[in-house]
């Protein structure tokens, strides 16, 4: 397993290069769509004020800046059902004219790729514009459990609380690590799970890196510890996010189970880690003209690597913004579809 710790300076330099490249891509594209005088409707899967919604909203002024014609962007909130409502709305209820785009998270992509009945669209026909890279963590608060070694050696039952869509990674993890666990999956939204976690109703819960940076300082005072992270997939390997020095689930499993690689549970964890690269995605509905999709993809990539946005992000969240552009995100989604098809 490769450990990846990217220095902040390198990241900023990389980001600047990406901005330049993306800006050149936007301005130099042979058939770049012109958004002058137009308004883009952007469907956010987060409720107003929720972390993903705030993240997207803070990105929008930079998207406007980097799209030709500097269009206005109207954010519409369609929260619920683990982002499937926003995804279904984007796929079915708006015109594929390049002026309507929506969002979906990695969990929904997995469900859609697996043919879940709640997904009312064909993922392979939807057009991805790009995605926020964001790792997810498992945070644990239980007497006597202070680090990953304590967790792996624990004999008591660990009660994990989460939304039902979030379970595959953690089910695979506890199976491979030999942790006795029970899942409570009735929580509908993140705040419900957080409340159950704080009151001790559950011992562990997942959260994104951004959520941990927001709630972590307070939760740590009560003894909560981030144990493992999904990590990102780089060159076929699962690696730690540069922003958080927490072992990946793969690393933790290997401490107690050297035979894990190659098992179905291991592959499931790998698949879920792949979704971290496309954690919060932006999509255009099937049928959106290619020139619009390309222009949007380049515009979002340029916005996400705009030095001004990166500085703002760093200040707001305490970690650098990371973005997967449209073609790379498409490649990852196609791999997720292929794995699910098998």
């Amino acid at each position: 397993m490769t450990e990846c710790t990217i220095s902040r300076r390198k990241m900023m330099a990389g980001a600047a290069a990406m901005t330049l490249a993306a800006t050149l891509a936007v301005t130099g594209h042979a058939q770049a769509a012109d958004y002058a005088g137009k308004t883009i409707n952007f469907v956010s899967f987060g409720g107003p004020g929720s972390p993903p919604d705030v993240w997207y909203r803070s990105l929008m002024p930079f998207v406007t800046k980097h799209l030709p014609g500097t269009p206005e962007i109207n954010v519409i909130n369609k929260p619920g059902a683990g982002s499937m409502i926003s995804a279904n709305y984007t796929a079915n209820a708006v015109e594929p004219d390049g002026l309507n785009i929506g969002t979906m998270n990695g969990l929904a992509v997995n469900k859609a790729a697996a043919g879940d009945s709640s997904a009312k669209f064909d993922l392979s026909e939807m057009q991805i514009v790009g995605a926020q890279k964001l790792t997810r963590l498992l945070v644990v608060k239980k007497d006597g459990i202070e680090n990953i070694d304590d967790l792996l050696a624990m004999e008591d039952e660990l009660i994990l609380g989460m939304e039902s869509d979030a379970t595959p990674y953690y089910e695979a993890f506890v199976e491979l690590a030999g942790v006795e666990a029970r899942f409570i999956t009735s929580y509908q939204r993140f705040p419900d799970t957080l409340q159950a976690f704080r009151t001790g109703e559950v011992d562990a819960m997942p959260m994104s890196a951004i959520e941990w940076l927001r709630f972590g300082p307070d939760l740590s005072q009560d003894g909560a510890v981030p144990m493992i992270q999904y990590g990102f997939t780089e060159a076929g390997e699962v690696v730690r996010s540069g922003a958080l020095d927490i072992p990946t689930g793969h690393e933790a499993v290997l401490k107690v189970n050297a035979d894990a690689p190659g098992t179905p549970a291991w592959d499931q964890m790998t698949l879920q880690s792949l979704t971290s690269n496309v954690s919060n995605q932006v999509w255009a509905p099937a049928g959106t003209p290619a020139d619009f999709v390309d222009t949007l993809s380049a515009g979002f990539a340029a916005a996400a690597s705009d030095p001004e946005f990166l500085a703002l992000h760093e200040k707001q969240y305490g970690l650098p913004a990371e973005w997967t552009d449209g073609p790379a995100a498409r490649d990852i989604v196609d791999r997720i579809i292929a794995v699910n098809a098998n």
Binding site: P48, A81, N88, Y89, S118, I159, I184, Q188, D192, E201
Partner: protein, 508 residues
């Protein structure tokens, strides 16, 4: 001590939010709209909310939107005392008691004193309520910290049962309406499984039934149809020309400080108990003033200023009180709060422990908006009351088209779909029938809003604790006893009365 520091910091931060340009501006819009609409008897705060909902939903700043709606909520209960005192026409049900002593005072030439007593009663009421809120917050936070899914589920059930039992004359009708709201709340995706329920081919229904068009229809349409059916201006007598004695009214409040304090406490407590509206607070305070007054010269109902101070203080104090259960438990303290809760949810304010911890400043912002809005409204009322009262004489033929049009706009902003209009119309017709057949609408709305909260709590409790949560958790047991008491105290009392009443008759 550390906790008190946190609370005071949150209070200061909440006050800071109130005075940011966005929030303060929005609150002022709410105050002006609330003052104007609160003056029009029969309309009240609900219609003011209806007029402002389209703007609130599109403001982009949820806190500003909330400040605007709370501004309306705070001032309508104060301005409705103007027609109550000057014309003997209470603007809302909550101003009935005020008119009992206010109108005789007005006829006696003491309108200014009566109005001033009502404004300052309101101001003192909200101030005392805010202090009580701060003092009891540590206790409340500790209470909420001990609440897990089972307690929250039982709290929601208690809220529904209380609303069903207290908001109408027939308990079984209230319970059936709560059931109707609950079953309608299951439209959409099932929490936990994500299975679509009752959606059919309509993507529109994936998010569940649209709350705002239904609220507007259920509560707004019946009022407007009745106003149109009467087809006359609301007040028909001539307005009082001279308004003086404002200083006397303020001093009346100061002299009756114990009454003000007592009624503030009653107001906060009634606000906290789900299902009890401002009119309950008002009458309890009025009764407290009458029964606690040993002075034979104080004749109530004939122009006693204490008969104005008590209800106005109580209704004003119950406003901050009603915010607590709404934001902490998702259980609205009174019917307007049930409407506001629906809008809060749409605006992204999710009731729960966060509102007393991470978002305590936002909760304090709400409480402070109510207090500040009341003070500003009192000042504005003192300055402009002579002109404001003329609004009572606007013809229904002029008012109705504007309000109906605004309601249709408000409904269609919810999802920007014609489905919104359909639900608004259906809810409007149903609301009209429910209102006039005396089937309470508040339990239905609470069922509709709380159903989506109750179901995940229920399954979380079940999955985590099996059935043991029903009998092993002390708070759950207390809540269960309260629910049983609410459900069966009325029938049992009636049964006992029947039995012993008959025996007494036979003995006679």
């Amino acid at each position: 001590m550390e906790e008190l520091t946190v609370i005071f910091n949150a209070f200061a931060s909440g006050m800071g939010i109130v005075f940011t340009p966005n929030v303060f501006g929005a609150m002022m819009i709410g105050i002006v709209a609330g003052m104007v609409v609160g003056l029009i008897p029969g309309l009240g705060g609900l219609v003011a909310h209806i007029l402002l909902i389209p703007f609130a939903l599109q403001m982009g700043d949820p806190l500003a939107a909330i400040a605007m709606l709370l501004g309306v909520y705070a001032v309508t209960v104060q301005t409705d005392s103007i027609p109550a005192v000057l014309l003997g026409v209470p603007g809302t049900a909550a101003a009935l008691a005020t008119s009992l002593d206010g109108y005789p005072m007005s006829k006696r030439g003491e309108a200014g004193r009566a109005l001033s007593a009502s404004y300052f009663g309101s101001i003192f009421g909200t101030l005392v309520a805010t202090v009580i809120f701060i003092l009891f917050l540590p206790l409340l936070r500790a209470l909420v910290n001990s609440f897990s899914s089972p307690e929250f589920f039982m709290m929601v059930v208690l809220g529904l049962v209380m609303a069903a039992s207290l908001s109408g004359r027939s308990q079984s009708r209230g319970l059936m309406m709560a059931g109707l709201g609950l079953i309608l709340s299951t439209v959409g995706q099932a929490p936990g499984t994500g299975d679509p329920r009752f959606i059919g081919p309509f993507l529109y229904l994936w998010e569940g039934l649209p709350i705002i068009p239904i609220l507007l229809g259920l509560f707004g349409v019946p009022e407007i149809i009745d106003l149109a059916a009467r087809n006359r201006s609301i007040a028909e007598s001539k307005p009082v020309e001279k308004i003086a004695g404002l200083w006397d009214g303020m001093m009346d409040c100061v002299r009756n400080w114990w009454l003000v304090f007592r009624c503030s406490v009653i107001g906060v407590v009634t606000g906290f108990i789900p299902g009890l509206g401002g009119n309950v607070a008002e009458w309890m305070c009025y009764a407290s003033a009458v029964s606690g007054d040993k002075n034979p010269e104080h004749e109530y109902g004939k122009g006693n200023v204490r008969g104005i101070i008590a209800p106005e203080t109580g209704t004003a104090a119950h406003l901050p009180g009603a915010i607590i259960p709404t934001v902490a438990f998702g259980v609205p303290g009174n019917p307007p709060m049930a409407v506001l809760l629906g809008i809060f949810v749409v605006l992204g304010v999710r009731p729960g422990r966060d509102m007393l911890t991470y978002k305590l400043d936002e909760t304090f912002m709400m409480v402070n908006v109510v207090t500040v809005a009341n003070i500003i409204a009192a000042v504005l009322c003192l300055v402009f009351q002579r002109y404001l009262v003329r609004l009572c004489f606007v013809r229904a033929t002029l008012l109705v088209p504007f309000i109906l049009a605004a309601m249709v706009m408000g409904a269609s902003f919810s999802n920007l779909s014609l489905g919104d209009i359909g639900f608004f119309a259906a809810a409007g017709m149903a609301g009209y029938i429910f209102k006039h057949m005396d089937w309470p609408r508040v339990p239905m709305v609470m069922g509709l809003i709380l159903g989506g909260i109750a179901e995940p709590y229920f399954f979380a409790a079940w999955d985590r604790y099996g059935l043991t949560w029903l009998y092993e958790r002390p708070i759950v047991l207390i809540l269960e006893m309260m629910i049983l008491f609410m459900l069966f105290s009325k029938p049992i009392r009636r049964l006992l009365l029947d039995r012993y009443g008959r025996e007494a008759k036979a003995n006679d």
